[in-house]
Amino acid sequence: MDLNVWPAWPLHFGGLLHAGLALAVTAIVGEACRRADIPRVAGYASAGLLLGPAALGWFNAGALTTYRGIVDLCVALMLFELGIRLDARWFRANPGLLATALADIVLTLLVVFGALWASGVDSDLAYAVAAIAVGASPIALMRVAAEGRASGQVTDRMYALCALSLAASVILLNLAVGGLHGANRDWILAIAHPLYQLVGSALGGVLIAVAFGVIRKRLNPGSEQGTAAIVAVMLLAVTILTALRLPALLAPLFAGAIVKWRDPRPHLWPPQFGSIGGLLVIISLILAGSIMSLDLLAAGAGAAALAIAARAAAKLGAAAAFGPATGLDRRKSVALGLALMPLSVIALLQALDVRSLYPEFGERLLAVVGAMTLVLGILGPIATWRALRRCNELHGGDER
């Protein structure tokens, strides 16, 4: 009888080995960055790149598709928290802030589109890249802020501008997809699809907010059960939204903002869901690295470099021009622009979602956006870190 008592040689490991090693490598790179005065999240992004097909090849492009749910959950949790930080009353008291956000969105869209288009990129692609470039990475911003325990005016505005620009980015890209449908002469779809996404996300947001309200009445969101319940709501929301083919981006963001608007009380849980959130971010960044193949990056490098420069100029320009009217001094206004540099996982998800509908176009978009997030996922958080420190908004700079 041949019982499986003795190990086979060579040893056969399950898939968890790579996962475990990957987590360890990422954690170590993050810690090394910390010691070099670089925010950990930049280290996680570098590690993701290292583990992906561009270097070690432990993960390939399939990994992100397989584990998309984990990334979606991570993004939904972060966006919900970002939404709760977005107090719409602030815009009523300080309308200049909305003007800053609008300038940030419009300038970034126009400057990035203009730069790419002038350099010979076709207008569809230039517009789609510009739409994605409008956003900023809430994951990077919030991790940097948590790591440095940031608080102050630049930090608060950074959150507000990130939320608004991201919402705008999602809507603008929706329109781009509508435009692609239109190019295929499918006019009804060109209007109905973006509309469905928008209305669906809004309704989804309302439902999530209602669910949170029910939990909030019965459980303290700061308690273990409260946090678990919120994670559960987001998990359900992500699952349902995905089944409805709605991106899990606008709905949680919108839900958070509704919650804060309806109930201005502080809604507090461990920042970014404590260690669960931290782990999800690490996994998301490893998975983000898994789609960065050298071929892909090489294809998008030129346009990406141009888009990065244009985006940086637009975001810095908007913040520097409009910041002072909202009560920031010049130095803090520039810092605010710098703080918004990161672009990361969400930008990749946006490009991937386009690719799932229009593979050829999506592949070209992913090449440019991938190369952009490669740079801005690593250098962006460093810019945020430095900018916040320059404004004296970091507390000592280490996690508790």
């Binding site: 709760i84 930080r85 107090d87 009353r89 602030w90 008291a93 300080n94 325990r149 608080s151 102050g152 005016q153 608060d156 303290n220 201005p264 009380r265 502080p266 507090l268 909202t326 009560g327 920031l328 001094d329 803090k332 004296n392 908004e393 507390h395 000592g396």
Partner: protein, 375 residues
């Protein structure tokens, strides 16, 4: 370094200073936004002053020289309205209260200025732990000798003022059991407590010369006494009060001090003596710990009563002076608060006992200070 000459001031004029908390509206923890708020209010056309304080999450407002309760209240209202408008633009909250109930002192940052840097270097963590918020009231004195009489005469009313203003039951997330826990932080400083018993300005100058000769102090600012003379203004400054939760209460307490000062200055009802201070720290502790219910040992008769009863008795003694000063309404409200046993510390504690989380407590404090209609 010698002591500056005692300036001329209008007798019994008052000035009110309030140290205020600056908090974020997401978590209601202290937030380092003093610089932004000062910039936002730099051009405001209001009487009085808005100044930075020791850490970046506090700010101090002060009235100009006021004749009495009405003008002090009016100036405080204008300052509050200016600050509240600026605060809404910055999406921050401003509130009273002697301590922030759950801030962690290790996270505080020292405001960038030479004096604050010096204090931070000298006192180390004490400087950050000194993130407490007080009300200071100046009373104008016609001469320095009168100032010293008033200083010692008012010392027996320190427990009254502590109990009336107490608004710091919570520190670092815990209920301290005290009504004014703030004063415990002040006591950690080496030159805190009471002023030495000297009755003439010449003697006070001699004391100051000796102290500065030791190298321990270089100016009056280095003394953290409960009441201290402020020669450059020609005033004495009473510093034991917590910042009340509303400017209305702050103005009423200032009016009470003014009426007490008028009573002491005009009637000269007591002979001040070193022995007045035998019971001083006992009474002071009782006031901090128990408020109106604290035991009060009379400095002359050594009779035991409660601080609440003593406040009521003092209000009766100074009634005529309060009427003369136009402060009888304000003092009437203080009297009914004492009778019903209510002060800011107790209302905070009651709200906490009914299950309000500390961040929401701070949110309610902001709404009260900024006079906001709950949305």
């Amino acid at each position: 370094m010698s002591l500056e000459a005692f300036a001329v001031s209008r007798a019994l004029s008052i000035g009110v200073e309030l140290e205020l908390q600056l908090v974020g509206t997401h978590d209601y923890d202290l937030m380092p936004v003093a610089e932004d708020l000062l910039r936002a209010t730099a051009d405001a056309d209001v009487e009085g002053d808005i100044k930075p304080e020791m850490t970046c999450s506090m700010i101090e407002i002060s009235t100009g020289v006021c004749g009495g309760h009405a003008s002090a209240l009016q100036q405080l209202q204008a300052l509050r309205d200016t600050l509240s408008t600026a605060a809404r633009r910055l999406n921050i909250g401003i509130c009273g209260g002697g301590t922030h109930p759950f801030q962690h002192w290790g996270e505080r940052r020292i405001f960038d200025g030479p004096r604050f840097r010096h204090l931070s270097e000298l006192y180390g963590y004490l400087a950050k732990q000194f993130t407490v918020f007080g009300q200071h009231v100046h009373v104008g004195c016609p001469s320095p000798d009168v100032a010293l009489y008033l200083l010692h005469g008012l010392s027996r009313y320190i427990p009254h003022l502590i109990a009336l203003s107490a608004s710091s039951p919570f520190v670092q997330g815990s209920d301290t059991g005290f009504e004014s826990a703030r004063l415990n932080s002040v006591l950690a400083f080496p030159l805190s407590g009471r002023a030495p018993f000297v009755q003439s300005w010449a003697d006070f100058e001699a004391y100051f010369r000796k102290m500065s000769g030791t190298g321990v102090v270089s100016s009056m600012k280095d003394f953290y006494w409960d009441i201290r003379p402020k020669p450059e203004y020609g005033t004495i400054e009473i510093r034991v009060m917590d910042t009340p939760l509303t400017i209305e209460r702050a103005a009423a307490i200032a009016a009470y001090i003014q009426a007490l000062a008028r009573y002491l200055m005009i009637e000269r009802p007591i002979q001040v003596a070193e022995d007045d201070y035998l019971v001083y720290t006992f009474n002071r502790f009782q006031a901090c710990r128990f408020g109106y219910d604290g035991a009060y040992v009379h400095p002359d008769t050594h009779e035991h009563t409660t601080i609440g009863e003593e406040i009521i008795a003092s209000l009766a003694r100074i009634e005529q002076h309060a009427i003369e000063l136009g402060a009888d309404d304000a003092l009437g409200r203080l009297r009914s608060d004492v009778t019903s046993g209510s002060n800011d510390a107790r209302s905070l504690r009651e709200s906490r006992a009914s299950g309000t989380p500390l961040p929401e407590l701070v949110m309610a404090q902001c709404a009260r200070w900024m006079k906001e209609d709950p949305m």
